[in-house]
Amino acid sequence: MSKQTMSLTLHIWRQPGPDRPGRLVPYKVTDVSPDMSFLEMLDVLNEGIIEGKIKDVGNYGPVVFDHDCREGICGMCSMVVNGEPHGPRRGTTTCQLHMRSFEDGDEIYIEPWRAKAFPIVKDLVVDRSAFDNIIAAGGFISVNTGSAPDANAIPIGKRDADEAFDYAACIGCGACVAACPNASAMLFVGAKVAHLVKMPQGQVERESRVINMVSTMDDAGFGACTNHGECSRSCPKEISLDAIMLLNREYMRATVKTRGK
């Protein structure tokens, strides 16, 4: 690993509030270690802005961005880096992206997720409540209360268990929506529906789940999938397009089963 540090020009979307105009503002950051994560690099930038060492054209103050776990599991670190949600590395969240993925002297454009259903709160932070509403509409199973059941009381085939696990890997980050030319949320919804439909525990609400989740998704103003495949490519958990296919299948099945009800 080279000890050399990097100098970068960042163009960051600055927007003081939901209904305020925003613009890209350039920042010069020096002394960036290639071993830093992308978010650590932004921490360095914010320190510089606070200490007055980095020029903040327009005096916006420190850049506001979402983050929590910084280990790729919470799905908070939403930002579009150089036109790619979560940046250039496949299967990687922004917090897990390291500065060694960039070159000294690079210009980096950083923007928030953009979609009608994800309104901007401030700078790079968007409101992803729409995802919470979709989960609340059907992303759950019915279980009896009381003591925890025995772990292997309900046998599940290996293949179903593996597939359910793959779909369960979705961290609800919203990169799929940000990547989609239609701002569609079907990879996310598909992952949730596919995860639960593969499990015996998910059968009780099988029809109502998919119908309610899709209708909540539509109400939130997400677009319709036209099979570009950009979502799966941008997904930090590499959720397969099979999720959308299963979602379509489950939705068709549920509409037929619930007809006249």
């Binding site: 163009h11 979307w13 579009v80 150089n82 036109g83 790619e84 454009y109 923007e111 953009r114 979609a115 009608k116 259903a117 759950f140 019915s142 990547a179 989609c180 030319p181 239609n182 701002a183 569609s184 079907m186 009780v204 609400e205 029809e207 109502s208 119908i211 309610n212 899709v214 209708s215 539509d218 103003g221 997400f222 677009g223 319709a224 999938c225 036209t226 099979n227 570009h228 495949g229 950009e230 799966s232 490519r233 941008s234 397009l241 099979d242 959308i244 296919m245 299963l246 979602l247 379509n248 299948r249 939705y251 068709m252 549920a254 509409t255 089963k257 619930t258 007809r259 006249g260 009800k261």
Partner: protein, 273 residues
């Protein structure tokens, strides 16, 4: 609580016309029917290379279906209308959903130009369909090309010259039929018309390169191990239609295929010009 979770929002078949997935399914199902139609249409028309007799026999057979032909035509129009309605609806929803664009344009990784310009190719195809119907079905776009007839002489269908008057022939008790063969060749010999057919069929091939794969995905038929095969279906059908459908206008424009008038019935007036 579990009671509440069981009450589904309006599902049922009405969802086909209201939900995003329903609209996609509607587009896929109508699209599948239209693909079957254009593929059979292409193979039927390729009979032009088999010559006058084969082609006009087929055209005559289609005409002889009478009411059935009209059922098919109206059915096709209904399917086209539904397909376009769903497409426009989805396009508007999607435009609305993606109203905020990126300043540094999104770097698309896997989508194709065919996928991104579906609406554009769709509009070209629609304009073409309108012209094509006026051209070869209604005969209004170019009546001089449309009005060609064959006449039954001693059990054989014979071509007739331009000056042939179908109404008079019928009044005189002759049996005549439309000469689709000459209409087809003469119609596409005109460079601008031929070019429009070529362009429209490139648009059709582009449209189907994405559409045919897309419909499998939308209808839930591209699962796991079938996916690598399904992604090839669209480009394969697109390429097939491109070759077949572009070959015809090119053959006429370059004169590779010309009207074969051997045995033309030549009335006296023919020497007039």
């Amino acid at each position: 609580m579990s009671q509440q979770s069981q009450t589904a929002k309006p599902g049922g078949l009405g969802a086909l016309f209201t939900s995003t997935i329903g609209l996609k399914v509607l587009m896929a199902v109508t699209g599948a029917a239209l693909v079957l139609f254009v593929v059979q249409h292409m193979f039927a028309n390729l009979q032009i290379f088999a010559g006058r007799e084969v082609y006009n026999e087929y055209a005559h057979f289609m005409q002889s279906l009478g009411k059935l032909l009209w059922v098919a035509r109206l059915g096709l129009i209904l399917i086209v209308v539904l397909h376009i309605w769903a497409a426009v609806h989805v396009a508007r929803l999607n435009d609305e959903a993606r109203q905020h664009r990126y300043h540094k344009p999104r770097k698309y990784q896997v989508t194709t130009p065919w996928a991104r310009y579906m609406l554009f190719s769709g509009v070209v195809i629609f304009l073409f369909i309108v012209y094509h119907i006026l051209h070869f079905t209604a005969g209004l776009a170019d009546p001089a090309v449309f009005n060609h007839w064959e006449v039954l002489v001693a059990g054989h269908w014979m071509p007739t010259p331009d000056s042939f008057d179908p109404a008079a022939a019928v009044a005189a008790g002759a049996e005549i039929r439309h000469d689709a063969y000459e209409m087809f060749i003469l119609g596409l010999q005109k460079p601008m018309v031929g070019l429009f057919y070529v362009v429209a069929n490139i648009a059709l091939a582009m449209h189907l390169a994405h559409a045919c794969t897309s419909m499998f995905q939308t209808l839930g038929l591209s699962y796991g191990k079938y996916r690598p095969f399904v992604v090839l279906i669209g480009p394969a059908i697109g390429a097939l239609l491109l070759v077949g459908n572009v070959l015809m206008p090119l053959a006429m424009m370059t004169g590779m295929v010309q009207v074969d008038t051997i045995g033309a019935v030549a009335p006296v007036s023919h020497g007039g010009h």
